[in-house]
Amino acid sequence: MADASTRLGGYGRIDHGKPVSFTFNGRKMTGRAGDTLASALLANGIRLVARSFKYHRPRGIYAMGVDEPNALVTLNTGARTEPNTQATTVYLYEGLSARSQNCWPSLGFDAMSINDKFSRFLAAGFYYKTFMGPTRKSWMFYEHFIRKAAGMGEATTLDDPDFYEKVHGFCDVMVVGGGPAGLSAAVNAARAGACVVLVEQSPDLGGGLLNMPAGGKADRWIAKQVAFLREAQNVRILNRCSVFGSYDHGSFGLVERLQDHVFPPQKAVLRQRMWTMRARRTILATGALERPIVFGGNDLPGVMLASAARGYLNHFSVLAGRKVVVFTNNDSAYLTASDMAQAGAAVTLVDARPISPSVACARAEKSGVTVRSGHAVAQASGRKRITSVKIAQFDCENGTARDPGKVMQCDLLCLSGGWNPTLHLLWQHGGKPVFDDALATFVPGATIEDGFSVAGSANGRYSTLDCVLDGQAKGLEAAQACGFDLPDGSDDYPALDLTDGWETQLLPVWEVCDSAGKSQKKAFVDLQHDVSVSDLALAHREGYVSAEHLKRYTTLGMASDQGKTANVIALALLAKHRGQTIPEVGFTTFRPPFTPVAVGALAGHETGPNIEPRRHTPMRQWHLDNGAKFIETGIWDRAWYYPKPGEDIEAAYIREARELRKSVGVVDVSTLGKIDVQGPDAAEFLNRVYVNGWSKLPVGKARYGVMLREDGMVFDDGTTTRLSEHHYFMTVTTAGAGAVMSYLEFLLQTCWSDLKVEVTSATDQWAAVAVSGPKTRDLLSSIDSDIDFSNEALPFMGAAEGTMAGLPVRAIRITFTGELGYEIYTPAGFGEALQEAIAAAGSAHDLLMLGIEAFGALRVEKGHVAGSEITGRTTLDDLGLARMGSTNKHHIGQVLARREALTSSDRQQFVGLRPVDPKAVIKGGSILSEPDETPKGHGLGYVTAMAFSPVVGSTIGLGLLSGGRARIGSTVNVVDTVDDTIIPAHVTTPHFYDPEGEKARA
């Protein structure tokens, strides 16, 4: 047969008047609006579309939808490249370009098809038995070639130009599938008043009815249902939308393809929308997928599922063959045979059953079909497409074809081995499939998961009327479960009767063996992964007998179609090998997604720079205007340093740190966690959560406190100020703010509900600056304020409330830099005004803007602990803070801090490090080791932080050093294996600057 156009006029639901041009493997072709890529390729006479994964066998179009195992192409070019796309699910648009993949140099002549010749050497699992020598590194050599040969399409490395969004949906009843059952269910649930979402993966509603000849009773019925649903205020229809997964408590993941059927425009488009749908009830009207029958050569281009061939004819007006053989074991394929014969094909129907269904048979014969019951297709032949089949008498006792068969020329072979309900969504969620012997497939059990019901052919109903009635019943039932009902006296809604039910039962036929009962060569179960019946037999022979082992050893069902046409057949064949029934063999777990989902859709907007919000302090704009460079520190963006012209970070922070000790500087500390603690038992509460005591803290005074975790490790630190009798203002670290707040709430709500204390996060409510340096008092006193900043009125650790420059403030005399300093808090909305007021006054006092790099360097000089020492592995004593721990009260973590391994003398303790050679640079993360030994193992500890200290005149470090306090005065080696340096350093106290704290008290 010539590859002429097989498009018929007067058929189908496509727009014959609208040509659409596209390219396939560089060849320009024309399809019609409404075509899929697959139907357009068929219409252009293309039969060979792809090569298989392993043996590179020629493959054509096999199915019509998401079950397609063969016809995978790479769609588009450049940044919109999409490998492994099923030609059957792509709707044609002007300018579409598709190409075959996994073939070289061309689809027609693929060098790797040599694998097919050597397939016996490449049987299931062969790679587990070889490629192990001659040396143990050899695998890396073999693997290089194996990886190149594997894979399918080639991915782009370019950024996706399009974008995605996410929506949260809620409904009473979600109906999945817009076929006769789904439409009926949606209509009835909507009539009862439920809020309904109807989801359909294809563009058009109608499901299997769209495979019937156009223009009939079915189309009128669909139009009526759709009109009702579109009118109804309580219904949302999501077409081109797949429910890909079912999750806990009635949550579902949906992906709506908004732009995949239009030409990719130059600009970015909203390509897909992901829905998280919460449904009170879900009706699966997801239909059933046809399964094939296995025999030799069953994978050739021109072998197709019977329902697909019918759909291509009636929906897409493509007659996929002129000399057609239909091979079936059930009634449904008779419709394919009749329709194709009526369209002008010469059709022979081979029915494995001894007796054909009389009505369907008569109808088919009337259409010109030759029916041969009690026969089977034993073998398909052809090179790059099917050219003939061998038809033989079928021995249904043994599943064998009797010799001699008769060869018959054909260009299309349609297969129907029965139907498998599409219940992935039910079974993903833990529902257990039940095997129905009459239908020879898995169906929902008598009791199914809460919140689900199943309607139509998904529920094993095979006539249109049964599907409609089942859908109506389930729709009403679901609405009723949500508290809705049809008004009294409502009429039954009109059903649709197409008298297309099955007259006779299906005969289970999984595989046609030769007359000796042996499987034939090239008889494939999983087409995409080239898993043949002999692979299944081999796996069984080698003891991979459980369904999961079989799947994993042979890779059956693990291809991109997830074995939609293969899995049930494989289980049947496995059962045969094991001498068990199919339900005894069990089934493999169903995993989401039902059909593959683009990463972009699942990521949505919350990716790239939006992966987590950036938090800004109220003074951000001021910092920007004043030349600050920013750095992200966890969730916050903070002013990092303020370079003068020509300065890099190094120069800038050292200048800032040096100048501060001479003048006055201000740093934005709004990110500090702030917690308001109020109530008559607040002091007792603080006594319990902090290691140190709080009972005696007077009003108007602040105190530094440390909290432990319950396991005795240091949790967080900060200052807490007593503002009034029952009111404390707690600050916690920027990083620890969230965790501390939750923990305090936990203690109060679950453990100590007898304490009369309330805690409230005030982090966002207060902006704060830390002003410090010897000239601080001069600066602050020059700002209009009712607060007396003198040492007498506001001594070290004193606190006062008042106004500054007309702004309400809290001033607390605490410092992180070791200089005279105050933290000044103001409500967040005034943050920028406060900053401006200080800056304005500062011009007369050489005010220095201090970034957090210099701020961090000053803390290293001062030897305060910070996040790099509060690692979650350090105790109070490790950090040299043991003296803070009050012994006359109980505090969190006190008991477990006493555990033996936490009190040993060789624990790593907090120390300072100063290089013996002042020019040497100590780096963070370096390992500390004994001075006279070759460094090895984990050493004695490590450098937690470093900075250049203008005061010391060299880099200095802080570290955690085994038995560190006893080593003060000795030296250790600072080992850096990246720079390959070993720097001797003096072990010192961590306090390099003003160890007595006199400056801060000045």
Binding site: D248, E710, D711, S753, V895, L896
Partner: protein
Amino acid sequence: MRIECPCCGLRDHREFDYGGDALRQRPAHNDTDIDRWSDYVFMRRNPSGLHREFWQHIYGCRQWIVVSRDTVSHQILSVCLASGAHGAGQGLERA
């Protein structure tokens, strides 16, 4: 999952933070026994089945709640406020 917050109603679990086993016996605050604290902090029943567990509605009312949930099916049987329900285990019987 969706959790019925006693204050805010039915909410997605992403609004909540998990707090683990709610049936652990927390020693009295002034208990100085290392074994009891150690058991409380480190040991878990970790049942396959019904689990009483703490959650906090961090993006809502910030209340700590106790959820009774099946760890196999994820089905939630009940939810209540944690306030007053913990301490020495009062209000919560062992499952």
